[in-house]
Subunit: 316 residues, 2 copies
Amino acid sequence: MKLDSEHLEILAMIVEKGGLTEGAEALGKSQPSVSRTMALLEDRIGAPLFEPGKRPLRPTELGENLARLGARIHALNAEASRLVQSYRRGHTGRLRIAGTPIFMDGVVSTFIADFQTRHPDVQIAQSYGYFDQLATSLRNGGLDMAIVPLHQGSVPADMSFVPLLPGRNVIAARAGHPLTRRKTITLADIEPYPWIAPPADSPLFRDLQRALKSIGKEDFRVSFSGGTLASIISILAGSDSLTVLPYSVVFLTRKTSGLEALRLKIEHPDRQLGMLTFDRASLPPALRQFGDFLKDEVALLEARIQHEAQVTRRRG
Amino acid sequence: MKLDSEHLEILAMIVEKGGLTEGAEALGKSQPSVSRTMALLEDRIGAPLFEPGKRPLRPTELGENLARLGARIHALNAEASRLVQSYRRGHTGRLRIAGTPIFMDGVVSTFIADFQTRHPDVQIAQSYGYFDQLATSLRNGGLDMAIVPLHQGSVPADMSFVPLLPGRNVIAARAGHPLTRRKTITLADIEPYPWIAPPADSPLFRDLQRALKSIGKEDFRVSFSGGTLASIISILAGSDSLTVLPYSVVFLTRKTSGLEALRLKIEHPDRQLGMLTFDRASLPPALRQFGDFLKDEVALLEARIQHEAQVTRRRG
DNA sequence: GTCTAATATGATCTGATGTTATGAAGCTGG
DNA sequence: CCAGCTTCATAACATCAGATCATATTAGAC
C-alpha cells in the first residue's frame, strides 16, 4: 500500500495549524477539498487520523506520527522547489568550460574566481583543449562552453559565438629584458634571443610562426615548448627568452609575473577570443549568467587596455 | 511553484535503474505513463532533466540532484507505509490503560511488562481510577481501556466488557501470621488484629465492608488506609494487620511479598474483573493485541490458581 | 545501412482534486 | 439549556493528471 505524499503533507499542515480550515487556507486550497482528501486518506489507511467528534480537529496518535513524516516530506519537496528556482535563475548548477590553455589560465580563470565569489553554488569544471576537440565535446553534451580564438566566418552553423576580445598577440619578455626599453625594435635586435613556444598543435604556436614571418623572421630557435602558462612565465622570468602571448594575458598577469610586451608590431590574427556554445533547445541558465558576467568583465578589461594604450601613445 | 513528490520519486527510480523502461517496470507502471509524467515534470520545471537525444536515458545534473531528493522522499513515504502497516497489525501505537489500583499493580502491570517485551513499539500509558471516572475517560477518548471489577448486568450500553477473572477476594496477612496456620478461623480469632483499608472510595473498600459483615463483623479497626499495593504489602509484612485483596493479587505476588490468604471464606462480590472498552467505530489495533494477550495470560493464571486449589483441597 | 531496443506520442478512460453551495454538528456565552 | 457561531462534511459538477494499449520515432550496435 502506497500513500500519497501530498496527502501526508496536507495532514502535516492541518496538524501544524491546529485545524482543517486553517490548514486548508495555509495550503491555498478550499476547505472541502482538504476535508475530502483527508477522508480519502483515512479510508485507505483504514484507521482514523483524527479523534472522532472533536471540533477543532485533533489528530490521533497515528495521525500525529504520519504528520511528522508529512512535514519532513514537505521540507524535502520545498528543497526541491528551491533547487529548481535557483537553477533556473542560474544560481546553481555545474558548468563545464574549456578553452585554449594560455587564455584560460591567464584571463578566464581570474574571472571564474570572481564569478564564484558571486555564485558559490555554481560548480565550474574547467578543462583545456583546442577547437576541434572542444566542438565535438560541445556537440555531444560533454561540455557547456568553449573559450577559443575563432574567425567570425568559421563559426559552425550549429553553434553560437560571442566575441570577447580581439586576438591581439604580442611578443613578451621579462620586465628587465634588454629589449623592453627600446622604442623601436628591429629583426636584428631579436635575433640573439631564444624562443619559448606553446604546444605545436596550439593556435598560439601558429600565431607565433605567422607573427615572426610577418616581420621577416622565417626560422627561430625554440628553447622550451609545451608548458602551461605557469611554466612559460617561470622560464621567461628566469631567462632572456621571448614568446608570443595574447596581450590580455600579459596585461593581466604582468603585476605578478613580471612580464612585459615588446614594442614590436606583429601581425594580428584575424580572430576573436570568444565564447562558443552549442545551440541546444535550452542551455543551463547558469551558463547565461556566466557568459554575461564574463562579457562584462572582459569589456572592463578591454577598456583598461585601451586606456593605457592611449596614455602610452600620448607619452610617446 | 510546487513540484509533485510522486514525480520526484519516479525520477529517482529512473535514475537508479538507469533507464525509463526499467524504472517504469520497477515502479509497476507502464512505460508510456512514466514517459509522459517525466515530460510533464520537465515542462513544469522548464529545464531538461535528461540529456537530450541519449537513448539509455541519462539525467542532467539538475535531474540527478532532484533524483536525490526524490529518493529521500521515497524513503520517508515508505516509512509512512510501514508505520501504517505496523499500526494496523497492532505492533505500533499508544495505549492508554487505566484500572483499579490494586489490581493494576498486582496483576496487570506484570502482564504489561510481558506484552512490551513482545511488542516494544507499543507504548502503554498506565493510570489509575475507578469506574465512573474511567467510563467518562473512555467516552471522551482520553482512555483506550479500563480494567475494572464490574457486574455483568451493569455494563454500560455503549461499552464492551470482556471478563478476565472472577472478583474473588480473600483476607490476606503476612506469611508468618498467627492465623495463617489455622485450618478454621472464627470471628473471635480475627478480632484482635487491626485492618488495613484501601481508599474509602474504592470498590475494594466496599468489598472489605461487605466481607466482614458477611462473617458477622460489623465494625473494624483501621490502622492504615489509602496506600497503593506497595505500601499495603510493606505494612502487612511488618505487622499482624489484615486486609482484603483479590486472590489473584495475593497469588501472583506472594513469592516476593510474603503474603498469604487466610482460610476464611468470605462473601465474593458478584463481579468480574475485566476489560472495559468504549464501542467506537474503530479501536486501536494494538488494543486488540493487548486485549487478546491479557485474556490469554490471565486464563493461564486462573488455571494455575484452580490447579493449586485442587491440590490444597486434596491435602486437606 | 539495417535492425533492435528505448523512448515518445495518440486516443481514450478512470479517478483524484478542485470549486461552490449547503447540511450537520460541536463549542460557547448568556 | 438554548442560540448562534464556527468547524467540518457532503453533494454536484468541472477539470486534469495519469493509466492503458497501440503505434510512431529514433539512438546505438553490428
